[in-house]
Symmetry: C2
Subunit: 711 residues, 2 copies
């Protein structure tokens, strides 16, 4: 099985013709296949190579500060790690002799902010690398580009000569991490901050309170963390440590405290805040719950004032997120006092009551010099336009806000927990070309945030749900709109994924370990065979497939190990296309396909041998069986094609039935090669058409038939 | 290549006949192949199985404390992770209904100490698990055994019925981690403490000062860490955090501050402590350096008094290690004042002067209620017998000390940085059967410590140098002397190795990442082929093979990725033995051998394709070439055997020459399959003898000839 994998991988990394066309677009005459991600605003490769050796030195010629020096040192250690070279420590004694010069115009902002100037220019010729930036943060972004430029040939490592001018398309490029539904310790946050910086993202949106957990130490109200977190919360010292860590990497930290709904964990320690009598316990299940702050009592706002006084001091960013989503209004409608209050205030409905609540919260935030961020639901005519709306609802909602004068960021289409492909997120531009927004309105779309909601991730698995797919979102938010070739994105993403591992991210590493745990140290081969063709089902299918997942469910099963956006979906589709395009010989890729299908077919007995000793994988037996049947069908199809004998319709129908939705075992993972296998089966049955048509038409017809049968 | 690997792995995990014999020995009538490590003092498997389901509950019936509850919760989360089951949180409401009962007689010591009672008994029948222990720490040891007992069959997970009575053979079972030559952050220490606890070890020996770095914050003398550590040191808060973390797991923390030699890093900030004028800088190279504390000045002892006052308060263990090794005396002999002092005190030589120094340090330690530990060199008749001597010199030195009344621990033979096999360490008993020690003397041998010296390890690689080999040392120090079957140890070690990964240890995970980095996201297959047959050279060969390794050398090359004690050395030797034992058919294992040798032979062009793009692996081209030649020779040998035609002597000599030391490329890794391949080549040439001898005699002769030619 492994040879096949490696071959497929090589194939994946080979620049496709489209990718080269894309390069040609961005690099003018020279089709140099770089692996920069995100692609810079303007990049022009030149002839010439700067050779890297252990005599590499650097000089900082302009503004300098510890942040810049430390960032540079970390980048140089990564460069040494990749190349095995040891550089002299410290700056070059003579600036003129330095290989790399860094010229910062000034510090930029003391802490990273929305209006930080992140632009830089990087010029490389065969003697020298010159990085210029307006600010320290701009220099950081340029240093990541510098590191990504590293390339090699037989003669050693080099940087290609290039002229780069770069700045982000959007100023707000973030990742939300939900640390409430499942706890994520400091090291998870730190390594992901490093990943954000490597991808030139600039916001960590820290989702810190939820029905399932309150995750920050609050000194004034210690029962919040003491009773609302199972002991799993960040101390204020840890918060300061993370904020400083992010600042050192040019990343903002935007804290979210979700209210008035999603607030059960607050009510465990402080039931008097609730809109219905307690007692409350931490929620272990997932969904929307009733526990909601009481918007009618002054005591609620007094509490929130003290609370925000402490929290706004802890989080230096100018923005603070109050959530505001998914308040189901159940407690409000059932509470006569609240209903009476609403009527007395002439508030039409619970939405209006929530707007009232938001306005009072806004006053508190304003007092503590913070601007408010919230989800779509907070958008209400009574709120001032300096709030920022985060849209989980979609671009339409975002555009409507922009037209009304509100600034916003897009999250719809960037939900990493939905287990979509990188390509899907990549195609999701925050501003549709047909949005009809004026220039001024479009500028109110500040950018976007990917969301890593916590229902289905543990510290072991979270990196694999964020990376490498987040690279595609990072590029969407940084690079020009015109950079949108998915095939080239995937080529670069595969290389970037390994580089991200240098930062301690476990997205690739943990798959091996989790597989070894599933197999209890026994034979891994049948698990590998299966993992190559599956991925987790989407969020709602997983949520609705029994047994239910709660906060207490161990996330160590096949679904947790399976990686989103399995590249074999694309590789195997390409393999089948290659084979069918080679009609009527059907020789191209045939050997590869034979090995692949044989592996699937023969993997089943091996899988049973494993599952007899590892009960935790028994749930996947139906899938392994189905894969074996598909493998056998694939082998039969290959035989028909090879013999140039059209398969009978009855055979075709029987084999296609294997791929029908009703044939699919109920499971939390899904096999990803159905469409390609449909094509292959249909092709075998359509062989008799081939002599009467051009090859291309025949192939087109096969694809059309397969697509038609796609459910 | 991968199919072969998997087959070899299956082979490795299959209990060998010897292993079963061993089990029979320890488990009386029932040959149940457990994977307990370390093997308990007494273990008797019974008929019956206790089935594990999500209805599992526990009860703590005796003494209870948070340490025990927390330890139990962590063990249960690991159990859930392995099985995918979700247990009800909290203790059973009815003790009688609990699946597991834990009965602790008492707390034991407030912090773990040398005389902690670690004994426990574990009885399992088909209804109930009963763990009894004298102390909380004993219960922790028992809980690790409980977790290791988990097994599975077609019907699900179970615990085999068993009666276990267990206690350690030696009370001091430690691991030294040198965090000075290369810095190791807190998370490295913590995850290794978890590993120690899983292997029932009980001492973390924290080597905290060296020529290359001073790693603890000292408030009274802040220039120690400020100038002696490159900013890489533990704050006192972090030290307390680690000590508490270790205490929670029943692990002592013994701090070492090496003096009077190995002290350069002290002298950077405080050159007045030195025996020769400064200034000093942190050493970047490795070896023995001159910088030594001045033993003649009262100011030195005043400094040390203040220093130890602060450090003894920080480390609660009763013992404190003062190093004392490898003082080369150069500064002392060159300093006229020191020489005069020595003569005035009638001290015969520098050793005597060091003994004088030690006595003064001892007084300080005694004042702060600490007992002294030091390396062999501190052993001197003037020192009292309540010190503990750590022997890097060997068992003879240890036994001599014991005869003189000194207690000691063995480290010679347990140096993990020497890159020996687990089997080698496993065979190294702290007390030779022929030691001639009386019972009282033997009791002075307290145990041993494995040493992870820091020259060649980074946070990325250190786990792979410690684990899983440390399991063999753990078993040597815990289990009865009679438990010594290396083959069975390896069988269990492979299973334990995966379990250790649950604790966050990266010994297996990082190999994949480091390989991906070496290949820069390109084809991994040729690297895998090579890695399957190499391991790092031993410590001194590595140190003496250019280019030299310093503190600044990136540890990201092939040698850092290659794993010690490559299991393929044993697997391939077994494969060749199997083949040759099958004379004259030579069919057993032939397919496997063909695939293996073909992979080696054909791996070379693929390796060159990779090294053309990844210059960091170019250093291994000669090795890849040699392996290809050996693979080709292996294929030729198989052909001779298959045809039953004796190979000519000239062929044999030419092929053996490939394996001669002078043929071996100068490298920091070595190919591990030379002996097996020698056997194969000689066998092909000795074929003409076969008809005249019994198969067994012929095989014996082949092995003897191969051994004879072994260099």
């Amino acid at each position: 099985m492994k040879i096949k994998m490696a071959l497929l991988l090589m194939f994946a990394l080979w620049p496709s013709p489209t990718a080269q066309a894309q390069d040609a677009h961005t690099t003018a005459a020279k089709p140099y296949a770089h692996h920069l991600m995100p692609v810079p605003m303007a990049v022009e490769f030149q002839a010439g190579r700067l050779r890297l050796s252990s005599s590499f030195t650097y000089a900082i010629t302009g503004y300098r500060e510890a942040r810049l020096q430390n960032y540079l040192e970390r980048v140089l250690r990564r460069l040494e790690g990749r190349t095995g070279l040891t550089f002299k420590r410290g700056a070059a004694s003579e600036v003129a002799a330095a290989t790399l010069t860094i010229d910062c115009a000034g510090a930029g902002l003391e802490i990273p902010a929305l209006d930080e100037n992140e632009s830089y220019a990087l010029n490389v010729d065969d003697q020298h690398l010159a990085l210029r930036a307006a600010t320290t943060v701009g220099a950081m972004r340029g240093l990541e580009t510098f590191l990504q430029l590293l390339d090699a040939d037989r003669d050693g490592y080099f940087f290609p000569a290039v002229k780069i001018t770069d700045q982000p398309r959007f100023p707000w490029r973030g990742l939300l991490i939900d640390v409430c539904r499942h706890w994520q310790p400091v090291e998870v946050i730190k390594r992901n901050i490093d990943g954000l910086a490597a991808m030139k993202m600039n916001v960590l949106h820290w989702h810190l309170s939820e029905d399932q957990g309150f995750r920050v130490e609050v000194k004034k109200y210690p029962k919040l963390q003491q009773m609302g977190s199972d002991g799993l919360y960040y101390t204020q010292e840890q918060i300061r440590e993370v904020v400083a860590y992010a600042c050192e990497r040019g990343i903002r930290v935007v804290a979210e405290f979700d209210m008035p709904g999603h607030a059960t964990s607050w009510l465990v320690g402080y039931p008097e805040l609730a809109s219905a009598p307690g007692p409350y316990t931490i929620e272990r299940r997932f969904g929307i719950f009733d526990g909601t702050l009481d918007p009618t009592r002054d005591a609620t706002y007094k509490f929130l004032d003290n609370f925000f006084k402490e929290m706004t001091a802890l989080f230096p960013d100018a923005y603070l997120h109050i959530g505001g989503d998914e308040n189901n209004g159940v407690q409000w409608s059932k509470n006569a006092k609240i209903v009476a209050f609403r009527k007395a205030k002439k508030l039409a409905d619970n939405e209006a009551l929530q707007a009232y609540f938001n306005q009072r919260v806004l006053k508190i935030l304003t007092k503590y010099k913070k601007k408010m961020v919230g989800w779509d639901e907070i958008l209400h005519p009574d709120l001032p336009t300096d709030i920022v709306v985060q849209s989980w609802r979609g671009k339409k909602s975002l555009a409507e806000g922009a037209k009304k004068g509100y600034r916003g960021i897009l999250s719809n289409g960037y939900y990493l927990d939905h287990i979509r492909s990188a390509e899907y997120h990549y195609a999701n531009d925050p501003i549709d070309e047909a949005s009809g927004l004026s220039v001024a309105e479009a500028q109110r779309v500040l950018g976007g945030e990917a969301c890593m909601w916590g229902e289905h991730v543990s510290p072991e698995t979270i990196d694999s749900r964020i990376w490498p797919r987040l690279g595609a979102v990072a590029e969407r938010l940084w690079s020009p709109r015109e950079v949108k070739d998915a095939s080239d994105m995937y080529r670069r993403l595969a290389i970037i994924s390994t580089q991200l591992e240098e930062l301690g991210l476990l997205h690739q590493k943990n798959a091996g370990f989790m597989m070894r745990r599933l197999a209890a140290g026994k034979h891994l081969e049948p698990l590998k065979t299966l993992l190559e063709v599956i991925e987790p089902v989407d969020f709602s299918t997983r949520s609705n497939t029994p047994p239910p997942t709660t906060q207490e469910t161990p996330l160590t099963r096949l679904v947790d190990l399976a990686r989103p956006d399995n590249h074999n979906r694309r590789e195997i589709a390409a393999l089948i296309d290659e084979l069918l395009a080679d009609a009527p010989r059907f020789a191209a890729g045939r050997e590869k396909a034979l090995r692949l299908f044989t592996g699937w077919r023969d993997g089943y007995p091996a899988f049973l041998a494993l599952s007899n000793e590892s009960p935790i994988v028994q749930e996947a037996e139906p899938l392994a069986k189905q894969l074996a049947q598909i493998g056998a069908a694939g082998l039969e199809a290959l035989a028909y094609l090879h013999a140039r004998v059209a398969a009978p319709a009855a055979w075709r129908d029987a084999k296609l039935a294997l791929l029908e939705p009703e044939a699919k075992p109920k499971s939390k993972v899904r096999i990803v090669i159905f469409l390609a296998m449909k094509e292959l089966i249909i092709a075998a049955a359509e062989l008799s058409q081939l002599p009467t048509m051009t090859k291309a038409d025949w192939h087109k017809q096969v694809k059309a038939l397969a697509a038609e049968k796609k459910k």
